[in-house]
Symmetry: C2
């Protein structure tokens, strides 16, 4: 049977390989950020592959994500919740061996009054101005006593401008992080310190601390914009063609009649549209590949379909037009035209391309780990 | 326990009421387009509510959607598949009482050679230049014989510019549709004819034919841009606040340090980001409401969080800053600041706002039908 929805192929070997490359670069086991369903690629298969590769620290955003992950991963895995423990969920966190990332003095008070010195993680704000204890608070004697009583397993901060290699914001944040570490390290002997996300890793050794936290780079997203990518692509996306259409007269294609095409043009209507996140993945200068030939999007991406101009594909009309075989496809993401490529050419926030792949209409095909060893060396 | 993810509330009564309004306006039972998980709102609860309200014709995009819908709806419901029958799935369609919308001569041949005169639907292309039989093909004698042999239950076309009320494209498509209907109606005595989507309904009686096919308007999206909406809002979205933060010095907020805020500003970090489709829903001039006060987004929307400037909310600092109660929320979509409002103020494709709400991290709360009658009159 031919298919009516796109095929998202996720190479778990590539994800494992990326984790190993980052490990070799840093010289220590990285954590893995698997929040938002592993950026749309599937939290459970991704985390399981990374666990088999040696990863033991997993970051999620919400309690719900953490509970799902915990129920599927070995008790050896540490599971950290970036959004912290919702009020009333402190006991659940302790029972399920989750480490909430405590982000404010109010949250720390709530945690301690509920579960005392249970292990937790703690985030300082060194310049992101989002979640995290503000540095001003550390001057307050009462707050310092609260902090001293905490059983901190991971002490962390987050970079705001890591992708802008030359930004002084990075050096300022790194300096503030070092200062906080000097201040609190003696109080928390078990704590590992963590600052760098994917791009932060490539700002240099000063940013590595004890634990790096890659997310996007594990999934094939280039953490070094403008330079060669240190990671491998992970995802391909292929759409089935629902219909080929030869124009016998000039025509306006799709909604708003926005795509003007000449007589003789050959159009392929592919299954997949903005309800599948395709508008983000295609970007503003949308294109795909048909039998290896670059084919541009014509007109507007619709909810369930996208039209491509396949006139340039050799002999496609003769081979497919009246054929009862309907297995013609359009490649949207390939090993060369990948997530980083699309993001680099577009103003849209790059990571949004990845998370846009989370459509539940795609069929998902996971290439399994070929060599599941607990340590690659 | 307080919550760590947003709450999407979907009012099934409003959806039912919108269907009844369209029915009264048209004077006949509308179909319902429930593809793409009912534009992100949940195909099964939405279709079930509409069935109870009297709707009997349901349009989906893919075979997978159709099989899921069929397994949950009464056999009385007709289920039409806009993407057609994938090659090899013809028998499945017949067994499951699905009506594929046949979009090309090649597909019609495949259908007839596999299941003969089994009931189907058929789409003509009257000017959308996407899916559908081109009108040129109707001149061909061989094709007309094929068409004459088809057992067509629904014969349809689709408008490309229905939202542009004054576009001549509409009148041209309507005229072509009427011509095709005159040509084929005698051959297909059981066929109902269908042209109008949500906006097409409001182009006038000439566009109603036998069966109208609203989608977006059922879900509260104004089908008449620039005029008062004939439908009720359906969806509200509320995000929990993870942390309140008073700035003791000027600060740059979030990724890229893009949001500049003065000393004294009060920031609320809400749970929900672009992985939840929030970037589309907030639009380019993002805002929410906190205790009824309009609050702007500060800096970039991140994957899991969005920061709002809540300085203007009266006495919020005194009431919430050190409170252990963490039930403060930000309203993103309300009955007045709704999906149509957001779309109207933004260049982004309006319907994409709706489908962007499909995040699986939101908790979903369906307001059930209060008065489930099979006919409202």
């Amino acid at each position: 049977m031919s298919e009516s929805t796109g095929l998202l192929r996720i190479d778990l070997n590539a994800i494992a390989e990326n984790w190993r490359r980052l490990k070799n670069y840093v010289g220590a086991d990285p954590a893995a950020v698997v929040k938002a369903d592993a950026y749309g690629l599937g939290m459970l298969p991704v985390a399981s592959a990374l666990y088999q590769t040696g990863c033991r620290d997993f970051f999620v955003a919400t309690l719900e994500e953490a509970l799902l992950l915990r129920s599927h991963l070995s008790a050896q895995a540490r599971c950290l919740v970036l959004g912290g423990a919702p009020a009333g969920a402190e006991q659940t966190c302790v029972e399920q061996h989750l480490l909430p990332v405590i982000n404010s003095i109010a949250a720390l008070r709530r945690w301690q009054s509920s579960v005392g010195a249970a292990p937790c993680a703690l985030k300082f704000d060194t310049g992101m101005t989002r979640l995290g204890l503000p540095l001003e608070a550390l001057q307050d004697r009462e707050y310092r006593d609260l902090l001293a009583a905490a059983n901190v397993m991971v002490a962390m901060s987050h970079l705001a401008c890591a992708e802008a290699r030359e930004s002084e914001h990075n050096t300022r944040q790194q300096a503030a992080f070092t200062q906080v570490r000097q201040m609190f390290a003696p109080l928390w002997p078990r704590a590992r310190w963590s600052l760098a996300n994917s791009s932060g890793i490539f700002l240099g050794k000063d940013y590595h601390a004890d634990l790096v936290r890659p997310g996007a780079s594990l999934y094939g997203f280039n953490p070094c914009p403008g330079r060669a990518s240190p990671v491998r692509p992970v995802v391909t996306l292929q759409l089935p063609v629902l219909q080929l259409r030869a124009l016998e007269a000039p025509a306006a294609v799709g909604y708003g009649a926005a795509g003007k095409m000449p007589s003789g043009a050959l159009l392929a209507v592919a299954a997949g549209g903005y309800a599948d996140g395709l508008q983000r993945v295609l970007g503003t200068e949308g294109k795909g590949f048909c039998e290896g030939v670059e084919v541009p999007v014509v007109g507007r991406v619709a909810m369930d379909t996208t039209v491509f101009d396949v006139s340039a594909v050799p002999a496609i009309k003769e081979r497919w037009m009246q054929s009862s075989d309907s297995s013609l496809t359009i490649d949207i993401l390939t090993s060369t035209h990948n997530v980083s490529e699309v993001s680099a050419r577009n103003a849209s926030l790059g990571y949004e391309v990845l998370t846009s792949l989370g459509s539940h209409r795609y069929r998902r095909d996971y290439l399994p780990l070929e060599d599941a060893v607990s340590d690659s060396r």
